[in-house]
């Protein structure tokens, strides 16, 4: 008997991906137009987590904004904080002592590793490799314990201050960091063995969400997403801050700019971050962590509790309508955070609060390319591409 093949009529279907979807890792909505499983068009709707951080910044003193800066990207709060205080320090025209710069660099790199571990771990879970997630999160836990030991909190650390740090690194800091750095690399190798040549992983990521170098620059991509496309640009190298020019490290780049290359770049960046940590801890300078300027830096607590001068000094910096003032001017300061270029554009009118503060958030700009990356791919690729872009909704919506 002969089968008669009939043409099956298909029609386009609209599918809502989000706002609440386990693979968006945050709240945003993708409206997918599908032909079968193929994606014809995407419309992205964001803003569900819009909190008016920039408006709020205009009504808070410079040090108060630190807590807002780290809540934007809750996976790498220290990088955000340090990016922000560096911007204010540029506005003030001050430079922090070498010990502070080194500690900041160590904290930045620890947080970068933690961020990349989450990014890769979640990416792996989203395409079905659960084991990797456990390996990654075990190490992340060690980093978070370390961050807690230094800053007092696991997330949203608010550790740096304008002109220095909340406090010097506690006793035993060097040994703990060294211990972590010496034992971290085997985990990267484990993940590498589980994923890099894993047939399913390669099939799910290679050639998915690819972008050329030229297009990536036009879309304003930065960080691992840009480097995966083959552009060798890292702000830590080109515009070094926090003593990054003292350290020897490489910038990994990809070739195809797809999800797979973004994964490879992040893997290598973790190794390089580990190198930076090892160099920084081996050469950690002594001395003060804060700039010697009582107009900016809070007095030590002993002075506040035991002398009236200390108390007045404390109040002068903390009370409403007080706090240090910045010279009038407009600055833009950029740092390399795990997701790319984090820029702070601050306008000062000479008071103790910023007149306007604009955040160039890498998640926001990296995500705008998503519709172009996903068009023509399958619906199951959506999660792989979102994860490989590492979108943090708090930073996306600000």
């Amino acid at each position: 008997m002969k089968h008669e093949v009939k043409e099956i009529p298909t029609e386009r279907m609209v599918l809502n991906f989000g706002p609440s979807h386990p693979a968006t890792h945050g709240v945003f909505r993708n409206i997918l137009e599908l032909d079968g499983e193929r994606i014809l068009d995407v419309e992205v709707e964001i803003g569900f987590l819009h909190s008016g951080f920039e408006k709020l910044g205009e009504h808070r003193t410079y040090n108060q904004f630190i807590t807002i800066a780290d809540r934007m990207n809750y996976l790498s709060p220290l990088n955000n904080d340090i990016g922000y205080v560096l911007a204010v320090e540029k506005l003030l025209g001050i430079e922090v002592p070498p010990r502070c710069q080194y500690i900041r660099a160590i904290m930045c790199e620890l947080n970068r590793i933690a961020d990349h571990l989450v990014s890769i771990g979640m990416h792996a879970v989203d395409v079905g490799a659960f084991t990797v997630f456990l390996y990654a999160f075990k190490q992340r836990e060690i980093i978070y314990d370390l961050l807690e030991f230094v800053t007092g909190s696991r997330m949203n650390n608010s550790y740096p201050r304008v002109g220095g740090l909340m406090s010097d690194a506690p006793e035993g800091f060097e040994d703990k960091v060294k211990d972590f750095a010496d034992h971290f690399l085997p985990t990267v190798d484990d993940i590498e063995r589980l994923l890099t040549r894993n047939r399913i992983w390669v099939d799910r990521n290679k050639g998915i969400g690819a972008i050329s170098a030229e297009e990536a620059i036009s879309w304003g991509l930065t960080g691992p997403c840009l480097r995966a496309a083959g552009v060798e640009w890292d702000i830590r190298k080109t515009e070094p801050y926090s003593s990054y020019d003292h350290f020897d490290f490489e910038i990994p780049v990809g070739v195809r700019g797809d999800s797979y290359d973004r994964y490879l770049v992040r893997m290598e960046e973790m190794r390089q971050s580990n190198r930076i940590i090892q160099q920084a801890i081996a050469n950690l300078p002594g001395g003060e962590v804060n700039v010697d300027d009582p107009k900016i830096i809070l007095p030590p607590k002993e002075r506040v509790y035991h002398s009236i001068e200390g108390l007045i000094h404390h109040f002068k910096l903390i009370m409403e309508e007080h706090g240090f003032q910045t010279p009038r001017g407009e600055i833009y300061s950029a740092t390399e955070v795990p997701n790319g270029e984090l820029g702070f554009f601050i306008i000062s009118d000479g008071t103790n609060k910023p007149y306007r503060i604009h955040v160039r958030a890498p998640s926001f700009i990296n995500y705008s390319v998503f519709p172009q990356l996903i068009k023509g791919h399958m619906i199951s690729d959506v999660v792989a591409v979102i994860s490989s872009l590492n979108i943090i909704a708090g930073e996306l919506d600000r």
């Binding site: 036009s218 705008s368 390319v369």
Partner: protein, 169 residues
């Protein structure tokens, strides 16, 4: 440190567009050039495509409301922060929005990253970008009234929160 006098990009810009540059300022090594709104597109294209300058990365677009800064003439402004991957140089181009229409050319034709960044400014400042492919609000709901980042918009809002009817449900 860059200075206004020694900046190559600024010298070139002045030579090519002598009438369009209103002011050039240096602060902490950042050069900000204020230009006339009419020549925005051609100046940015010149900076992007010039073989020597190559400001090919548009890092950020920000809106500013100068309402509370009395000594600044003009109210709304847009700043473009450019970066040259070739020369490792940054340059900020500022232009004031004059006239009643609050309109400025979209730079989407030069950099695609302008798409969402211009929508953000449209949403929060109410500046319209001429030639933008899909100009609509990005963070706030479509029926939202007002533009929160303007200086005459209060921090606590204009009673939007009390309009949620929890009780009636």
């Amino acid at each position: 440190m860059d200075s206004v006098e020694g900046n190559q990009a600024l010298a070139k810009l002045k030579a090519t567009y002598p009438d369009s540059i209103l002011e050039a300022k240096e602060f902490r090594g950042d050069i900000t050039v204020t230009i006339k709104k009419e020549n925005l597109l051609s100046i940015l294209q010149f900076l992007r495509d010039d073989e020597e300058l190559k400001f090919n990365h548009l890092a950020s677009i920000s809106g500013i409301d100068y309402l509370k800064m009395e000594d600044v003439e003009g109210r709304l402004a847009v700043v473009y922060h450019l970066y040259s991957l070739k020369n490792n140089r940054r340059l900020a181009i500022k232009t004031f929005i004059t006239g009643d229409s609050l309109e400025i050319d979209s730079v989407y034709s030069l950099w695609k990253t302008a798409n969402w960044q211009e929508r953000e400014i449209y949403d929060l400042f109410g500046i319209t970008f001429k030639g933008h492919p899909a100009l609509k609000r990005i963070f706030l709901p479509e029926d939202f009234e007002g533009h929160p980042l303007r200086k005459d918009y209060p921090l606590e809002g204009r009673g939007e929160r009390s309009r949620f009817d929890y009780e009636e449900e």
